[in-house]
Symmetry: C2
Subunit: 191 residues, 2 copies
């Protein structure tokens, strides 16, 4: 009797975890991670103790080098941290479970890279176009093209600057004043 309930509970719990693991793994591709790496993160998400490479190997049924590179990738995008526990000589890893932190790091890095890289080339290009327009007696079609390019690039530059300000507000947490984090569960005893 007792045992029967235990088994039912365990089945339910594992169902619940598997459900979420599958959907995390499915959506993680949006974060530039391969399905396997996504699944590794999703699996780690439900571990309440740190994992070794061998644990991961067993959980996912993959080779240790794969786990080694996968976990490094996850560290790179700041959603897994190496932790230390006395007594274990193996490396231990723990999933970052705060998705807001994850979000900030991930898009912060992405957008910053995009803005920086493009601003450099945009500014160089704008300079060149202004040089073109300073040349006297230039062909009317070319002048027109240069003017159109210039106008477009200035708009693009505005976008890049906007992206930079977005990154700032995400990294400083300012954005959470505009869009506060609400606790959906808090009205649970009002029903």
């Amino acid at each position: 009797m007792e045992d029967e309930k235990q088994q039912k509970a365990e089945a339910l719990l594992e169902d619940a975890e598997r459900l979420v693991i599958d959907s995390i793994a499915e959506t993680m591709d949006l974060y530039g991670v391969t399905p396997s790496i996504g699944r590794l993160y999703a699996t780690m998400y439900f571990k309440h103790d740190p994992l070794t490479l061998d644990d991961m190997k067993n959980d996912l049924g993959m080779s240790k080098p794969s786990m080694s590179t996968a976990v490094r990738k996850l560290q790179d995008i700041n959603i897994v941290k190496k932790v230390w526990r006395r007594g274990s000589r193996k490396d231990l890893f723990m999933a970052e479970k705060n998705f807001f932190q994850y979000f900030s790091h991930f898009f912060g890095d992405k957008w910053e890279r995009e803005a920086k890289l493009n601003l450099t080339s945009i500014n160089d290009a704008i300079e060149k176009l202004q040089e073109v327009l300073n040349i006297e007696e230039i062909d009317v079609d070319m002048k027109h093209r240069a003017e159109q390019d210039l106008q477009q690039l200035k708009e693009y530059r505005n976008y890049c600057h906007w992206l930079e300000r977005l990154v700032d507000s995400v990294e400083s947490g300012e954005i959470f004043e505009f869009l506060p984090i609400e606790d959906t569960d808090s009205n649970r005893d009002e029903s």
Copy 2:
């Protein structure tokens, strides 16, 4: 003499365009498109008249089926539109040059998919976990694990709801009240 200036101007203009084309192509991978498709968009960005598939084929030196599928992908993520011009029986395409629109569509779709998919599984899982916790005389370790999972999932749900609100504010344009689009060029005659 005249001609010399013309050639210099043309070289400068093409340098300017190439510079930006390369950096757009390089950063487009962040938007989930292949390098070739990124380069196609970047090339179209500097065209002030619509392009046919054959134009693209010539510009990029690729096959027509590649252009056909590439341009469809770009239409899918809303950064290229099919346009109509009387007289041409070929299909004509034009790049969307407003990056803000691009940004909104792209991340709107991404985040919405993520939130929707995960919320479904999170809610199902939460239900199952509550069922587990309702079982009497459950093993203490399992109870603990269920409680931890439940707590985590509720936080995750808050994140998904936050994402949904972010999508709303991006799609409604509300976010631009919080982070206004500034014209960097407007202070050009103050120097």
